[in-house]
Symmetry: C2
């Protein structure tokens, strides 16, 4: 059996409340009693019943994190950072994954009662505006990544348009003329933004735009990148560079290119997006957009906390976190 406050109190010969006071660091407890209580606590190995405590306090001590797939390196890395940031605020993190389907995302959002978690950090992919109505009221929510739609909810992301523009600008500055993009997708908010950045950069560099060079990707897995790249390489005039909307697509694209005997970056330069750890060690190492993932995690947790603490309505925040371009071998070749 597990010791409760009552057990400890009996053992120490004081009231339950006094034990509670000791546990919670209440100042006015006589030294003698404090000592006895502490002994009893140690003897019984008392640990507070989180459920009961939270029932009383109206907090749960849990934070939910909703991601599409934990096996995707970006989300694995991000989740780790969120957990770390949350631990510092005494929160435990509950992770749900949705496979990026709208139905699962709705269901997850709906199950997040305020009794279950104090707040939630969500990274939706397919949700529509109306789905947010289904959300259990009263749970502070922070969204990561781009809105698909306009929803009055806190939101943390990098400037996707600028980031994409930076990536493509880098390719253009290297003298690439036929720059392709992989990752177009109707259902993802980020895809539209990154595509816009891609187009901006081409326009600015005075390069022609061609729909042939924009390859869609249903999911953002390595396989999708390989398929898209294979398709691009069959064009009569194949690209000499490609901007992939995430690192996994880029890894897949590299493989497809390598399998066809292309040299990277000589024949084909590749830029990814996310700066997952994998990208620094791929062969060749991948040039990629590096969002400050730790900042994203910290900011998101902070936003949740702030919204919980302040009783009055805050206007929804829209916070942009920094990013940088990590230049590696896939665009500039092996450093000598």
């Amino acid at each position: 059996m597990v010791a409760t406050l009552k057990d400890v109190a009996t053992l120490a010969g004081v009231s339950v409340k006094t034990v509670s006071n000791v546990v919670n660091g209440y100042a006015f407890v006589k030294a003698e009693n404090r000592r006895r209580v502490e002994e009893a606590l140690a003897a019984t190995g008392y640990r507070p019943n989180v459920g009961a405590r939270n029932l009383r306090r109206g907090r749960t001590g849990f934070l939910a994190l909703m991601v599409p797939e934990l096996s995707i390196p970006y989300f694995g890395e991000l989740a780790g950072l969120v957990i770390t940031a949350a631990q510092q605020q005494d929160w435990s993190v509950l992770i749900e994954h949705t496979q990026g389907t709208r139905e699962r995302e709705r269901a997850t959002l709906g199950s997040l009662g305020p009794h279950m978690v104090d707040g939630a950090i969500v990274s939706p992919e397919a949700l529509e505006a109306e789905d947010f109505a289904a959300l259990g009221t009263g749970v502070p929510l922070v969204m990561l990544g781009e809105h698909a739609v306009d929803v009055p909810i806190d939101h943390v992301a990098i400037d996707n348009v600028l980031a994409a523009k930076t990536a493509v600008g880098h390719l253009a500055s290297l003298g690439r003329r036929r720059i392709a993009a992989i990752g177009q997708n109707q259902h993802r908010g980020t895809a539209a933004l990154r595509l816009a950045g891609y187009r901006d950069a081409l326009a600015e560099a005075g390069l022609p735009q061609s729909d042939d060079l924009v390859a869609p990707a249903r999911n953002y897995h390595r396989r999708d990148g390989a398929e898209a790249m294979a398709h691009l390489l069959e064009l009569p005039e194949p690209p000499d560079a490609v901007f992939c909307f995430n690192d996994l697509l880029a890894i897949g694209a590299m493989r497809a290119a390598a399998e066809r005997g292309l040299r990277i970056p000589a024949d084909l330069a590749i830029v990814g997006f996310d700066n997952t750890e994998e990208s620094a060690y791929s062969l060749p190492a991948l040039t990629t957009i590096a969002p400050d993932k730790a900042a994203i995690a910290r900011t998101a947790v902070d936003l949740v906390r702030r919204r919980i603490e302040s009783t009055d309505q805050l206007a929804p925040q829209d916070i942009q976190t920094p990013f940088s371009l990590e230049v590696r071998e896939s665009t500039v070749g092996r450093a000598t």
Copy 2:
């Protein structure tokens, strides 16, 4: 505010318990009352207070998963599978990570009161036998991976010795003579087992053993693999093959080899361990031991459930899950 049973009861004009009965599917509720309660439930958007319910029922609905780092692909993939398996048993998964330090692992284990979670699945790296005494009593615990030590706890893993032997046997069968190993580590149970398998295979193939060819790795990150490989390649007689104790080490080793102009597998064959998704897309694609991660996750969740449900003491189970050798380019070259 959030609706409670009381609110619903008032609205429906019945007692709290009747509403509770409806919510919990108690059979004997008059149709008329049931209808009114259901209307009231819908109108208020009632969701049960998980904390209170569990306080009463003595269950929490949470399962803890402790891993060293979520950003390590193997654990990201595994965590995803555990979440999926747990969802099917109506459990939400709480993830804690420890960076693989003994102190953090102890602390995490200690914080898992039975009020917090119904059970825990842990993947420790540095824990010693005595640390398990610190565990809050009464929480069913399942360990993944090898024990460092003998502890009477449920345990799910593949046969590490056999798996390592299989991997190294594969290298030997390809005619490699100087087969190195990367990943030796005093503190990891798995390291010892994989090393034993490595030695078994060498012995069986009649190959000489040399301590020079066994490279330690503090952590199991890509960087450690690269450093170890660099070291091995500086030997007067460098290896012609290397067995890495996980995929990340192998990825790092590949990079170090490639940077020194070695061709893989012609000059150096490499085998990894874990079959992370990354390994199928690396250049060259990595030959690796493929544990059935889904089986591990399912088995672990099942074990926890079984231990919760049965009141009597079950003997600690020791379950081995299947694995296979995934042969790819890093040992046999590009398929034509």
